[in-house]
Structure formats: structure tokens, C-alpha cells
């Protein structure tokens, strides 16, 4: 692996144009944990103490780099908002209708958006969820299939 690829590169596209996005430090580590250990890790801000998941390298509020050592968060969490999507677009994560939830994992101070796989029958704000992982994982956000009721 080349030095500049230390933290991983994610392949993607816009339309037909291919891109190779560098993940950055914290996101690279976080996706490594997805792939190798099926675990969520967040990163703490040494300024405000907030645990970011998913994390980018900087706390914008304190304007300091997040701590290098990851903090395990989840695996369970709480739905803080949700939407039942009836109209998909070409890049939608699933066939409509599907449910998107904003989930705050236990121990994290920020939320992540993921598919709520249980469908729309019982979904509500405040419901407890746990992750469902793909068998084949490649260090990509989509390694996380989504969340189901805990």
C-alpha cells in the first residue's frame, strides 16, 4: 500500500465518471472496523468531549483534531427521526418504499442515517435498534445493511 493510501480509498462515481475518494484518518479507521470486526467506533473531541460517529477528522465547533484512539459505540442505538420514502431516485439505497432512520448509537453524541430494515409497520421515534451487517464486507459504508429492532 502506498503511503498516501494509508487510510484507504473509496471508489465511487458521479454519473459515469469514476472517482477515488480518500477516506481520511478517522473515517478510514472506522470503515476498517466495519470490515474486520463488524464494530462501530467513534472518535472523541479533546475540546468538548463529544463522541463523533460517524467521524470526520475535525470537530468544527472546537476546531481541533479528534483524538486518535477510537471509542467503541453502539452496537445498539435509538431512532431520533425517520422517514418512509415513497419515491426513489437513481441513487437511492433501496427500492421504494423504504425507511430511513436517523440513529444515535449508544455512547455517541451524533447520529447516522441508515436503512431501517423492519419496514414501516412499527417504526417510531425513540425505538431501539441494532445493526445488521453484510456477510461480505469491503470497508464501505454499505457494509452496514441497516438497522433492525433491538
Amino acid at each position: 500500500m502506498m503511503a498516501e493510501e494509508k487510510y484507504g480509498v473509496m471508489k465511487g462515481h458521479i454519473g459515469d465518471a469514476p472517482y477515488n475518494w480518500t477516506t481520511g484518518k478517522t473515517a478510514g479507521r472506522l470503515l476498517q472496523e466495519f470490515r474486520d470486526n463488524r464494530k462501530f467506533v467513534g472518535f472523541k473531541c479533546p475540546g468538548c468531549g463529544k463522541v463523533y460517529f460517524p467521524a470526520k477528522d475535525i470537530c468544527g465547533e472546537c476546531y481541533v483534531p479528534l483524538e486518535e484512539e477510537p471509542v467503541e459505540v453502539g452496537p445498539e442505538g435509538e431512532v431520533i427521526s425517520y422517514t418512509i420514502v415513497r419515491e426513489a431516485n437513481p441513487e437511492s439505497p433501496a427500492e421504494a418504499p423504504y425507511v430511513l432512520g436517523m440513529v444515535k448509537l449508544d455512547g455517541a453524541d451524533t447520529a447516522v442515517i441508515g436503512l431501517l430494515l423492519a419496514g414501516d409497520k412499527d417504526v417510531q421515534v425513540g425505538m431501539r435498534v441494532k445493526p445488521e451487517w453484510k456477510e461480505e464486507r469491503m470497508g464501505h459504508f454499505s457494509d452496514l445493511e441497516g438497522f433492525v429492532s433491538a
Binding site: M10, K56, I80, S81, V85, R86, P93, T110, A111, S142
Partner: protein
């Protein structure tokens, strides 16, 4: 000390779902020509041009400021582009103000727009998300705002029937605005029965996608007074950004808007905005946002947005009319949308708003929102010179 600045002319195009008679530069030219005519000047009088547009993918042309250079009137003048997503129209207006207030230029043209019919808007919007986290779950604007609405309505017990009142009111107001795209005569029941897009957002809770452009002419005090009988004085501006990752924020309480409003109110000596302002134009692309923005602007208590809108306070007959133009729910070009808010409050305080005129309006506030949610702008204008 910034110099005193006023708006002396505005121009906007009729918004439509699709304009096939002009290209994007043609729309820009149309808005600029109208603004110059309104100000009673020619392009020769303009010292600098500020140009705005949204993500390049909307029109499919990178560096649109280059594409639109001639149409914007920028030939052999200082011209540059501003881009802050959905806020861009407001940021472009604020950029025009900065140019004059700074002392660098005396008369400045600000122009902005988009031609959304030419591309795949919701797909293109998905490209504004972080490619590592976010884009996989990117779902266009309706689903993003659906999370905001879900959180807000859960937190304060606001109902879909209450948010529907905003959808009905904007469309009713639009019937007085010849530039609006949708002029619908609908009821709360119609909104409730309209097809769900992304719960709790239904079709009639959502803005349309439009082709259109808008332009404003800003002038320094001495020239504004000479050139315009009743200019709209820019009394305060504020543009605040919060964190880029939208899952990091509580959308039911937009701290950037609260701060932007506070800064403007402090600058104008406003301590009771509902009483001291006469008219408001806000960027409510989806009906629940009118309630959230109203709370954040201090028009009612936090969580009381539902009761506020139901009371009729924000209608043309109410004590603080919101969106006499019909708002974003009646036309949304994205690129021009936030500037149209500024244009419309200028028209109000200049007494040029025709059928949508609020009686004796002398203080108006224009709000802009965008950039994947993180940007908020506020501009306060008045017929009273500072």
C-alpha cells in the same frame, strides 16, 4: 464603518417548470435587463457584477460564471461567482451589498438563477453529500427535510394538519404573484390526501422545481437617493453556517438561523420582531419548515409554530404576513430562490408589490436556507434610511 447601501432596482423572471424559449444565460439576461430597467439605468452604470448559481450539475456546465459572463453584464468589469447551495441567491445579494458597503464600488449588480428542468435535480443533489458517509443514504431534498420534520413534530407534538396550513397559505398568496409557478386553490384536506413522498412530507407539502433567475441593483447612499424615489435600505445582513454533517445537528432548532436573526435584530434595534417587522419572506421549501423558521425568527415561542400558523397571523390579513409572494412552495429555482425572498421584501418596502402589497410595509425580513442545510441568511430592509 460600512457605507449606507440601498436596493434601487430588482428584476425577476416568471418561474416555470420548463422554459424552452431561452437557455440559462438567456434567463440571466432577462432578470438583469428587468433590474436595470427598474432602476432606470443601463449596464454602463454598473461597476461590478456578482453572479450566483447552485451546483454545476443542475445545468451540467462547470464554471457557469464563465458561461454566463456576457449575459450577466460582466464584460470588462469585475465579475465573480458565489455559491452556497440553496442559500446562494441570498448570499449573492449579500455579496452585492458587501461590494458597495465596503467602499470598493458604488453601483453593483447581483444576479443569480438556475434552470432545474435541464438535469436530474434529486440525483444531482445527492452529489453534495460527503462521499464516504452520507451519499449512500442520500435521498434528495424531500427525505432530508422529512427527518427535520419528523424530529420537530415528534418533539413538540405538531401535527401534519398544522403544517398543511402553511402549504395552503403559500399557494393562496401565490395567486397574487404573476411570477409564481404554482397558484393553487387548495385546502388542508387536499394536502392531507396528496400522495406521500417521504413521510411526513406529501406532494402538496413540497416545492416545485423551476426555471428562473433574479437580479438586484445595490447603490451607495448618495447615488441611491439621487436615482430612486423610494429605495429599500439594507439595514442588516447576516450569513451563518453550522456543521456540514447534517446528522450531527438538531434540525428542529436551527442554531445558525437563530444566531443570524439575533445579529440582524441587534443591528437594527429590533427587540420584538413580530411587532416591528411588517413582512417576512422565508425559504420554506417544505411546509413544516415555515413553522420551524418562524419560531427561530422569534415570531412565536419554540414549539408553538403549529398554533402560530393556524391562527392566521402569517396570512395577508394577519399581523405578520409571511410570503406574500407565495414563497418557495410556489416556485423554487434553487439558484434564484433565496434572492427572490430579498427582492420581494424590497418590493414591499418600496411599495411596488402590486396585488401582493402588504399595507404600509416599511420593514421587511428575507431569509435564505441551503447548502445541505447548514447555511442560513437574514437580510432586513426598510424604507427608512439608517
Amino acid at each position: 464603518m460600512p457605507r449606507k447601501v440601498a436596493v434601487i432596482g430588482t428584476g425577476q423572471t416568471k418561474t416555470k417548470m420548463r422554459r424552452t424559449d431561452v437557455d440559462f444565460p438567456g434567463l440571466v439576461h432577462e432578470a438583469v435587463s428587468r433590474a436595470l430597467e427598474d432602476a432606470g439605468i443601463t449596464i454602463k452604470d454598473i461597476d461590478a457584477v456578482v453572479f450566483g448559481s447552485s451546483p454545476e450539475y443542475f445545468e451540467g456546465v462547470n464554471n457557469p460564471e464563465k458561461w454566463c459572463l456576457d449575459a450577466s453584464g460582466g464584460f470588462m468589469k469585475p465579475q465573480f461567482r458565489i455559491h452556497t447551495g440553496g442559500t446562494v441567491g441570498a448570499s449573492t445579494g449579500i455579496g452585492g451589498f458587501y461590494h458597495v458597503a465596503s467602499g470598493m464600488y458604488d453601483i453593483v449588480l447581483a444576479v443569480t438563477g438556475d434552470k432545474l428542468s435541464e438535469g436530474e435535480v434529486q440525483y444531482n443533489l445527492s452529489t453534495v453529500y460527503d462521499p464516504i458517509f452520507g451519499r449512500d443514504m442520500a435521498c434528495g431534498a424531500p427525505s432530508a427535510v422529512a427527518h427535520q420534520a419528523s424530529r420537530y413534530m415528534h418533539k413538540y407534538g405538531v401535527t401534519e394538519e398544522q403544517t398543511a396550513v402553511a402549504a395552503v397559505q403559500d399557494r393562496k398568496h401565490a395567486q397574487n404573484n404573476p411570477y409564481a409557478q404554482l397558484q393553487l386553490d387548495i385546502t388542508v384536506e387536499d394536502v392531507m390526501k396528496s400522495p406521500p413522498i417521504s413521510s411526513p412530507i406529501k406532494l402538496l407539502d413540497a416545492c416545485p422545481a423551476s426555471d428562473g433567475a433574479a437580479a438586484m441593483v445595490f447603490a451607495v447612499e448618495e447615488k441611491a437617493e439621487k436615482m430612486c424615489r423610494r429605495p429599500a435600505w439594507v439595514r442588516a445582513v447576516s450569513a451563518i453556517a453550522e456543521t456540514a454533517n447534517y446528522a450531527y445537528r438538531d434540525w428542529s432548532e436551527p442554531i445558525a438561523l437563530i444566531k443570524a436573526a439575533k445579529k440582524c435584530y441587534a443591528a437594527c434595534g429590533i427587540d420584538n420582531p413580530r411587532k416591528q417587522l411588517d413582512v417576512i419572506e422565508m425559504y420554506d421549501a417544505f411546509s413544516p419548515q415555515m413553522l420551524i423558521w418562524a419560531e427561530s425568527l422569534g415570531l412565536c415561542e419554540r414549539g408553538d409554530g403549529g398554533k402560530f400558523i393556524e391562527s392566521g397571523a402569517a396570512s395577508m390579513e394577519g399581523d405578520i404576513p409571511i410570503n406574500p409572494s407565495g414563497g418557495v412552495l410556489s416556485a423554487n429555482t434553487i439558484g434564484a430562490t433565496a434572492m427572490v425572498r430579498q427582492v420581494e421584501v424590497c418590493l414591499q418596502v418600496m411599495s411596488k408589490a402590486d396585488k401582493r402589497q402588504v399595507d404600509e410595509a416599511s420593514w421587511g425580513l428575507a431569509h435564505g436556507w441551503g447548502g445541505g442545510i447548514q447555511f442560513h441568511t437574514v437580510m432586513v430592509v426598510s424604507s427608512e434610511k439608517p
